[in-house]
C-alpha cells in the first residue's frame, strides 16, 4: 500500500577526528552506498578510477563546474575536489541511499539544492574527548593541535544546520542510530506515495 522507491541522500559531517569515516563504512550494505567524489589530483597506488575517485584533468573539472554537473566542489592545495551529480542521482533513482561524507561548507552548498536530503552531524561525547583523540594520533605538536581545535570549533558552529545530531560515544551505537534515522526517513509521509483509496 505504501511506495517509496527513491533512495535517501545522506549527508554526513562532523569535526575531524570524530570517527565519521569508520561510521560511514559500517553503514554500507546492499541498499546504502558511498558517493564517489571527483578530483584533479593524481591517483595514488591502488586507487581505481570510478571507485576511489573519478580522476579528471582540470579542464574537464572546470567544464563540469560551468555545466552545473557538481553538487558541491572546492579547491584544496591546488587541486579540485567535488561530488558529481550524475553518479549520485542515478543511484538515488535506483533506490539506493547515497552517503556523502563531506565537510560543512560543501554540505551547506548541497543543502541549498537538495533540501530533501538527510543532514546528519556526528558529535564527539565531549570536546575534551575529541582533543584526546586528536592528540592520540601521535605526531602533531602543540600548534598543530591548536589549529585543529580551532577548525573543530568552526565546524561545530554549523551543527545546528543539520537535521540530526548523532553522538559517537561508540561506533556501534552511532551506526545503530543512523540506521534508525534511515528507516524513519523512509517512512516519512512526504516521501511516500501511498495508494490510499
Amino acid at each position: 500500500m505504501i511506495e517509496n522507491k527513491r533512495g535517501l541522500l545522506l549527508v554526513i559531517s562532523g569535526p575531524s577526528g570524530v570517527g565519521k569515516g569508520t561510521i560511514c563504512k559500517e553503514l554500507l550494505n546492499d541498499s546504502t552506498i558511498l558517493s564517489v567524489s571527483a578530483t584533479t589530483r593524481n591517483p595514488r597506488d591502488g586507487e581505481e578510477n570510478g571507485v576511489s575517485y573519478f580522476f579528471y584533468d582540470k579542464e574537464k573539472f572546470k567544464t563540469m563546474i560551468e555545466n552545473d554537473e557538481l553538487m558541491e566542489w572546492a579547491e584544496y592545495c591546488g587541486n579540485f575536489y567535488g561530488t558529481p551529480k550524475a553518479f549520485v542521482e542515478s543511484k538515488l533513482d535506483e533506490g539506493k541511499n547515497v552517503i556523502l561524507e563531506i565537510e560543512v561548507q560543501g554540505a551547506m552548498k548541497v543543502k541549498e539544492k537538495y533540501p530533501e536530503g538527510v543532514y546528519i552531524f556526528i558529535l564527539p561525547p565531549s570536546l575534551e574527548e575529541l582533543k584526546n583523540r586528536i592528540i592520540g594520533r601521535g605526531t602533531e605538536d602543540e600548534s598543530v593541535i591548536e589549529t585543529r581545535m580551532n577548525q573543530v570549533t568552526r565546524e561545530l558552529s554549523f551543527a545546528s544546520e543539520y537535521n540530526y545530531f548523532v553522538e559517537n560515544d561508540k561506533i556501534e551505537n552511532a551506526v545503530k542510530k543512523i540506521n534508525a534515522i534511515i528507516e524513519a526517513e523512509k517512512a516519512k509521509s512526504d516521501r511516500c506515495s501511498a495508494q490510499l483509496i
Copy 2:
C-alpha cells in the same frame, strides 16, 4: 555532549481494524507509556480510575473543557471522552514518550496545538486485506461492513496530515519501524540542546 530530556508526544491513528491497539501495547516499555483518557461513562468491571480512564462526571468534564485542560475531546453516544493535558505534559516533562492512540479528528485537534508531536498513521497492506480483517471479526452483516468501509475511506483521507506512514503487514515490523521513528525523532537537532563549544 547532547541533551534531550523531554519525551516525545506520539499520536497514532489508523483505520479501525488495522491493529493499532496491538501495536501500541507492544511499544510500551520503561520510557514509552500510553496516555490515560478521561471519560464520563461509567467504569466497567475491572476498570480502575487513573489507569483505564480518569472517570469524571459531566460537570467536571465541562469545566475541564472550559478551562482548556483537554488536548482534545469528543462526545460519543451521550458521553464525553478526552485527553487530559496535565497527565500527558507531566509525563513528557519526566522524559517519558507518551502515546495517544486516537482517531483522526482528535489527532488533528492535537496537531494544531502540538505541532512538535510525532504523528504516525498505521496503514493496512491493502484495503482488501483490511476488509478481510473486518469481516474476519465475525458478527457483522453486509450493511455494518459497508458502514465500516466508508469510515475507513474517511479516515484514510486524513493520512497525509501525519508525519509518518507505517504499514502493518506484520505487528513486529510495524513496532520495529515505530521504534526506529522514536529513536530518530529523539536525535533531531531541533529537539536537542547540544553543548557544542
